[in-house]
Amino acid sequence: MELTPDNLKAFEEIVARYPVKRSALLPTLRLVQEQEGWISREAMEYIAKLLDLSPAQVKDTASFYTMFHLEPKGKTVIEVCTTLSCALGGAEKLLGHTCRKLGIEPGGTTADGRFTVKEVECLAACGGAPAVQVNGEWLEHATEADLDRVLAGETVRRTFEWPKSPGEHLLFQNVWKENSTSIDVYKASGGYAKLGEWLRFEPEILIEEVKKSNLRGRGGAGFPTGMKWGFLPKESPRPRYMCVNADESEPGTYKDRVIIERDPHRLIESIVVSCHAIRSKTAYIYIRGEFHEGARTLEKALAEARAAGYVGKDILGTGIDVDIWVHRGAGSYECGEETALIESLEGRRGQPRIKPPFPAVVGVYGCPTIVNNVETLVNVPLILERGAEWFASYGTEKNGGPKLYSISGHVVRPGSYEAPMGRITLRDLIYGEGYAQGIKDGRKLKAVVPGGSSTPVLTADEIDIAMDFDGVAKAGSMLGSAGTVVMDDSTCMVWMAKNLIYFYKHESCGKCSPCREGTGWMLRLLERIEAGEAQEKDLDLLWKVTDSISGKTVCPFGDAAIAPPQSTLQKFREEFEYHVREGRCWKSVAPTFEEAKAKSGRAVSA
C-alpha cells in the first residue's frame, strides 16, 4: 500500500509542522486509515519507512489508540458512548438494540462489511445523552428510531442544543450567535481588537497580570496559571512550546467543546496572546480524536486567522511569531494528562512520564513546555481586557473569574453553564431555574459526582457548597473539571461504581502496575458484587485494592480511578451489603433502594 499523491502531499505538510518527524505518526496513521479504511500490517511497514521508524514502533503506538483500526471495519461505524451520563440516559439499551438488529456483538462488524458497532467511552457529549457518533458525526440524544434509520442507510445527525445560562456571558458571549464560528462574528464582538496592543507588552507584564488575577487551571487540578508560567526556566536557549489541552475526556465534562465548536477564534486569540506571555512561537492544540467537528472548525478558523494576520509570522506588525497547529488524538482518555499528552504529541503511546522533570522544564521535544486547558486560556484575554483586579473579584477568593459548569445525568435541563466561579452552589446548579432545573421525572436526588468522574461522589445532603475549588474540597470532593453528573434514586450505586471502573480499566494506559492490574481487579470485584456473587470480605478486599493503588501510581489517574469505588463504599455501603446479603441487585426487587430495603424486611446495618 502507498499514499495517493494527494495524501502524500498532505503528509509532507503534516511532517513540516513538527521539529521531530515521529510527531507526524498519529496524523499519518489517520491519513492512511482514511484512505484505506483500516491500518494493515503492510500499512504499518510503509508508515515506518516514511517516518524512519521501526514497524514495531508504529505498531506500539497504533495499537494503543482505540480509534485506529488494525482490522478491517465496516463502511459505517456506529459508536455508542456507554459511560456514566450516557448510561444513565439509556445507552446500554440503545447499544443492545443496535447490536441485536445487526446480529453482532459490540465491537463487531457485520458479515457484509456494512456496519461496525463500537462501545466507546465518554465522548464529551454528556448533556446529549445517550450520545452516538456515526462515522464521526454527532448523533446526540439518540433514540432507537434514529439508529434504525442509520441502519436503513439514512444520514442522521443531531447536535446538542446548549441551553443559555442565566446572567452575564463572558466566555460564552458568542456561542449562541448565528455563524458564531466565523471570524467576522468574533471581530464584531470585539475579538482581535486589542491583540496588537497586548503583543506589544513585555511578556513578564502579562504573566504578572495573570498571576494577580488568581486564574486557576480549569483542566482539573486548579493550579494557578500565572505561577505555572513562572516555572519556565529563565535562561534556557531552547524554544518553548504551548500545548493546549483540548482532550476533554473526563466523564461528565463537555465545556471546552462548546468553545471549540462554537467560538474557535476566542481560543485562537487566547493562544496567541498566551504564547507571547510565555515567549513561545509554537502552540499545538491537542484535541481529542473524537472531536471531528471541533477539529474541522478549528482548522477553518485557523486558516481565517492566518489569512487575516492574527496567526503566523510578524503578527500585526509586532514582530511576534506564533504558529498554531491542530494535533488530533486518537481515542485515549489518558492523553489528557499533561505528560501523556506530550508523549502522544511526540507520536508515542499515550503514557505519562515520571516527574520530575516537569513539563515547564523538560516538556515536548525536551523543551520547556506549558500545558493549559482550553477554558483556562480563554480567560486570559478577559484578564487583559478588564484587568486582574476585576477578574480576581469576579469569582470568589483565590478562585478568580468566570467558570463553565457542565451538568448531565438525571436532570431536566442538562447543559454547560457559565457563572462567576463559586458564586453558585451545587444546589443552584442542579435545581436553579436558569440551570439544570431539578431532577427529571420528579424523582429524588440520590448522588452527585461534582467535578467529573475522578471526583468523589456526594450525597443529596452535601450539595450546599460553593462551586469553586475550595468549596468542593471542603466537602471532601473536588471541583475537578466541573463536570457534574446527577443521579436520582433509581440509580444503583454499585452499578455506578462499576460503570466508572469499567471506564478506568478501559482507559488505563497500562504503564504502572498498580493501576494497570488494579483497575481490572476492582472491575472483577464490582461485577461480582453487582451480580450478587460476592461475599462480605470482597467489600474489604475492594477497599484494600483501592488503598493499594492510592498514591502509588505514576500519574493521578490511579487516584482518580479509585474515587468512585472508595466514595460509594464509604457513602453507600448499605447498598453494597445488600447485594452481598441478598445475592442480587436491589433493582430487581424495587425501583428504589429504600423500597427494596423495606421489602427485604430485615434490619440493615447503617
Binding site: 500490517r41 504499518m44 521508524l53 521501526s54 514497524p55 514495531a56 514502533q57 505498531k59 506500539d60 495499537s63 494503543f64 485515549s332 503511546r349 515520571i354 520530575p356 480499566k505 478501559h506 482507559e507 488505563s508 494506559c509 497500562g510 504503564k511 504502572c512 502496575s513 498498580p514 494497570r516 492490574e517 488494579g518 483497575t519 481490572g520 481487579w521 472483577r524 478486599l541 484494600k544 493499594s548 498514591g551 502509588k552 501510581t553 505514576v554
Partner: protein, 531 residues
Amino acid sequence: MPKCTIDGKDIEVADGTTVIQAAEELGIRIPRFCWHPDLPVDGNCRMCLVEIEKMPKLQIACNTVVRDGMVVHTNSEKAAEAHRTTLEFLLINHPIDCPVCDQAGECYLQDQYMGHGLYDAKVELEDKVHKRKVVDLGPIMLDAERCVLCSRCIRFEREVTGTNSFAFVNRGDHTQITTFEERPITHQYAGNLADVCPVGALLSHDFRFKMRVWFLKSHESVCPGCSTGCNIFVDERDGEVQRLRPRRNVDVNRSWMCDPGRALYKEIGLTARITGARVRGAASWEGVSVEEALDLVAQRIKDSGPASAFLATPQGTNEDLFAFRSLADAAKGMLDFRVGDPHLKVRQRIDDVLQRADRNPNTQGCLDQGLDRDGVDAIVAACRAGKIQTLVLQGPELLRVAEVVDALAKVPFVVVMATHEGPELDRAHVVLPAAVWAEADGTYTNFQRRVQRLRGAVAAPGEATPRWELAAGVLERLGEPIGATSAREVFTRLATSVPDYEGLDHRAIGAQGRALAPAEEATSTTQEARA
C-alpha cells in the same frame, strides 16, 4: 555532595544520585523490576517505593534524587506493605511456574514473592488475562505470559542498539510485549535481552533448559573477542564453561556484551584442542612431552642466536607478551606482532554499541610493550632470504597467511604455540600446547589503555600451558630465568620495565581495571564514547 540516611546508615553521595543508587552503594537492595543501572529510569513497576521522612506519600527510589538530610526507610511498615501489594498486582497476571521456568534462581519476581511469603497470595489466578505461549525469536525465546511489562527490553533496544524491535501492543491490562509480527531478533546483542529481562519472559535460546543456574560457579574475567575488552563472568560447572555473561563496568561495557563474544565459551572445550606437544619427524608428527619440546626449542634458539625471529600474538595476555619479549631479547632475535595490522584497527568501531574491528583483546598491550619493533614484513623478508634459522610464533596467525608460505618454507625450524588444531600447523616443526584465555590468570590492555584482569576459571586440558610459562621454560633453559612463578609475579616484573605500568600489580588493577594515560590518537580512525 548531599548526605542522607538509609535504614539508619549514613552516606554521602554525588549530586544527582538517586535513592536506589545510594542504597546500592550501601549494599541495601531496594526491590525493583523496571530500574536498571544502565537504562533510562522509567518508574513503571512501582516496586521500589520507600518511605522518606517529611514526605506524605511513599516515593519511588529509582526517580527520587537524594537531597541533603533525607531520611529514608526502605523497609518500614508502610514501605513493606507497598512492596507486598505491588507484588500482588504483578502476580495477578503472572503464571507461577517457577519449577519449569529457566529464570528460576535469577528471577526478581520469584525472589520477591518468596521473600514475602506470597506463594498462595489471594491473587485470582482463574481470571488471568489469556496471553500466548512461547514464541521463538531466534536467539531469544519470548514467553509473554511471564512479562511484567517493565519495558527494560524496549528501553534496551531504543537506547543501546537503536534497533527498536520490541513493541508493547494494546494498552491497560491487555498490554503485551512482542516484536513486529513476531519477527526474530537479528542484531548482535540479543543475549543482553535475556539478561535485562527481570523475569523469565525473555530467555536465551542457547542456555534454555540447559541447567539450573544455582549449579554454576562464576569467575570474573574479560572477553577476548575484540579490543573493547568487555568485562564478563565465566560461568562454569565442574570445570566446564557453560556460558559467558557481562559483568558491569561503566567505563567499558556498562552491563552489555555482544553475542559473538558470548559464544566464545564454546571454543574453550572443543575437541580440536591441542593437549600435548609434538615435533615433526622424518615422515610424520611425533608426540613429545612439553619438557622435551622446550629442550629442543631452547637448543635451536641458542644455536640460531640473532638468526632467530619472534612473532608475538595480540591474543596473549600482557604476561604472555612480557615473557615472550624477554625471550626474544635473550636471543637477540627480530621481534614484532603485527600480522594483519591489528594496530590499525584497535580503536575502530564496527558498530555503535561495543564491537571493534580488531578481534584481538590485547593489541594495545603489544604496543605498550614495544612489540611493534622490526616489522612483520622485514621478518618475512629475512625468512625468504634464508637469514632466519629459527622462527618462534606465539600464535598461529602467520601460518595462515598464504602469501608467506614460500618464506616460511625457507626457515629450517618453526615453533608455534597453539590452542586449537588447524591445517596451518603443518607448516611448523614444533607445536607447543597453549592454554586459552579462560584457563589462565593474566591481564589485557584494551583499546582505551585500560588494564584489566582475567582469571583462570577452568583447568587447561592435558599439558596445555599458559604461553608465558612456555616462554619462561625456554628462558630457564637458556640460563636467563624470568624470576617469576605466577602470572601475578610476571606482571610485577613487567611493571618495572614498561612505561606507564609502573606501580601497578594485579591487586591494584582489581575487578574494574585501571586506566592508563590514553594512547596518542595516531591510530584512531573513529570517534569515541557514545553516552
